[in-house]
């Protein structure tokens, strides 16, 4: 059946709530309002106020309460209305979510999902356009995935809920209305697996979330120009699926990373380091990385466009790599 991405996420939530009575949702306006991006629409009516909890605007505390509930065996899905708001919960996500399993010598697991929209949208301003994956990536014990299609959004949501680990699921404000036909049968996606988007021979392009679509736009141009790029959506931001990524590097010997994350200390920087560490001998050219500019995302549309990577830059980078 055909769904929009936010509907796919909701289907995933609903199926898991049906399957497991321990699954509950908490966050700002997730209940009666239906979620600011409609991901939880209708769930409060179906499951009641004890399983779909409208919280006050207090990210630090309701995230902490989700973690406490998870320590006792519930499987809370905590929504950050916007990823930027989760900075207020950074201590809970880092010190408690990420580390409790370890500091307790394995006594406790924290099967929580923290999810919400991030990324540069359409003129949302600096605070609401953040890519927090770079902030969260060094937290030990946390898993991070980014969805990019209705298919993987639903599959990753379901897998994240079933995982015993704390998982941060990154959604993108601009992708909620993507439409795709997805299977009617139950399915999940692996949390630690990259997705092959377009097999090719000449150059490996690694990307995730919204940049997948800028890459595919560029790929069209590149194919017309006679190039054969391989496009991989890395999907798992922590840990990286170095198996699939490595096999691609061994085939193409050239790597371009395209991300919306920040240039300094971002996912691309970590990924580039991992590739150089592990696959140096297979590389025929320096690994290139196109990232967002290190600036607060400006409001003005033109400036905002220049902040994130555009398809033309991707085309130029591939041409340079393949020279």
């Amino acid at each position: 059946h055909e769904v929009l991405l936010f509907e796919a996420l909701r289907e995933g939530l609903e199926e898991e709530m049906d399957r497991d009575p321990r699954v509950c949702i908490m966050g700002e306006d997730v209940g009666h309002y239906g979620g600011s991006y409609k991901v939880t629409k209708g769930l409060a009516e179906k499951y009641g106020d004890l399983r779909v909890l409208d919280t006050p605007i207090a990210e630090n505390s309701f995230t902490g309460m989700g973690i406490g509930a998870a320590m006792m065996g519930l499987r809370p899905v905590v929504e950050g209305m916007n990823m930027g708001f989760l900075l207020l919960a950074f201590n809970q996500i880092s010190n408690n979510c990420g580390m409790l399993h370890y500091t307790s010598g394995g006594q406790f697991t924290i099967p929580i999902v923290i999810r919400g929209p991030g990324g540069v949208g359409r003129q949302l301003g600096a605070e609401h356009s953040q890519r927090l994956e770079s902030y969260f990536q060094s937290i030990p014990g946390l898993q991070m995935v980014a969805c990019s299609t209705p298919y993987n959004a639903k599959g990753l949501m379901k897998a994240a809920i079933r995982s015993e680990n704390p998982v941060v699921l990154f959604e993108h404000v601009l992708l909620y209305n993507l439409k795709e036909r997805i299977p009617d049968e139950d399915y999940i996606c692996c949390l630690e697996e990259a997705e092959m988007v377009r097999p090719g021979e000449q150059v490996t392009i690694l990307t995730y979330s919204r940049m997948r679509y800028h890459v595919m736009q560029a790929a069209k141009t590149l194919v017309n120009k006679g190039y054969d790029p391989e496009v991989i959506d890395i999907r798992s931001l922590k840990p990286f699926d170095l198996y699939r990524i490595g096999n691609s590097v061994k085939k193409t010997h050239r790597v371009l990373i395209v991300e919306e994350c920040m240039r300094t200390g971002g996912i691309g920087a970590s990924l580039r380091a991992a590739i150089i560490d592990n696959f140096w001998d297979y590389l025929d050219a320096p690994v290139m990385c196109l990232s967002s500019q290190d600036v607060p995302t400006p409001y003005a549309g033109t400036l905002e466009d220049w902040t994130v990577v555009q398809p033309a830059q991707i085309v130029a980078a591939v041409e340079q790599l393949c020279q």
Binding site: H101, Y102, G141
Partner: protein, 361 residues
Amino acid sequence: WTVLTIETSIPFTGHRIDPPSRSVDTTRKELLSFFRDMARMRRMEISADSLYKAKLIRGFCHLYDGQEAVAIGMEAAITKRDSIITAYRDHCTFLGRGGTLVEVFSELMGRRSGCSKGKGGSMHFYKKEAGFYGGHGIVGAQVPLGCGLAFAQKYSKDETVTFALYGDGAANQGQLFEALNISALWDLPVILVCENNHYGMGTAEWRASKSPAYYKRGDYVPGLKVDGMDVLAVKQACKFAKEHVLKNGPIILEMDTYRYHGHSMSDPGSTYRTRDEISGVRQERDPIERVRKLILTYEMACASELKDIEKEIRKEVDEAIRQAKESPMPDPFELFTNVYVKGYGVEALGADRKEVKAFLP
């Protein structure tokens, strides 16, 4: 006589609530167990101090001596199905929940047989099966967790409660008020216990809190001020609080208590308070001496019998330290265990991964 009724040291003070009676029922057996358990805690902490000075315990180490009545009185009012979560001064709370001395000393010395396999340290003690949820190092951040535990208890309708402990320093954290608001909105069975030992590290309460009446800090949430040096008062208050929260949602208990040691091992504890103040509390309010006096007054045991108990405890603690010293350091591979629970159906991570197993439903 088997049941004895004893009056608490001072009356309780209530905020938006009628305080419970000052008369507390107890027995000879209970008072003797209070004496033994508190003396064991005291001895354990004093020994930890020596082990620290002998450099067998390193890093952070926060001692609880002086505050024993809070941990013991609380345990006397609740069961192991109820939950407790506290901050970093957690050794005695762990012991109160049924943890062993060997687990304590092993963890403090970073040994394999520690309660967290030597990976947690002084601030990270836990005992899941006895409802002890830690053991947390970030001041105040354990309180939202505690409210979350209470949420899970309400969710599963099992009629149990959570005691979330914090100090007078943590009482100024914003997240306390946030979590209290949510708990009150959702009628959660959570008791916020402010262990007021009057100093947040070296800052006296009145220098950090505009209103140091912590039991009133919840505004719309009822509160009770308790003499935290009187184990029977603590017991009475916790029993009262447990019944209250199951029916009416959260309550704050302020335990007026005192720590004899400094904040941590690097703090001699004498720069921001006078030695007279410390010795005054020791002489007039010590929780163990109070119980000793009760036992002697009511002739439940004689002074020499109590001395014998203390001698036994000394031996017990020394033996536990000996055993802990014999426990090996953690294996090197433990560095990497318990970071992740093995991922959802995935066997291995990294460049050399041979296979991906995703179990389909």
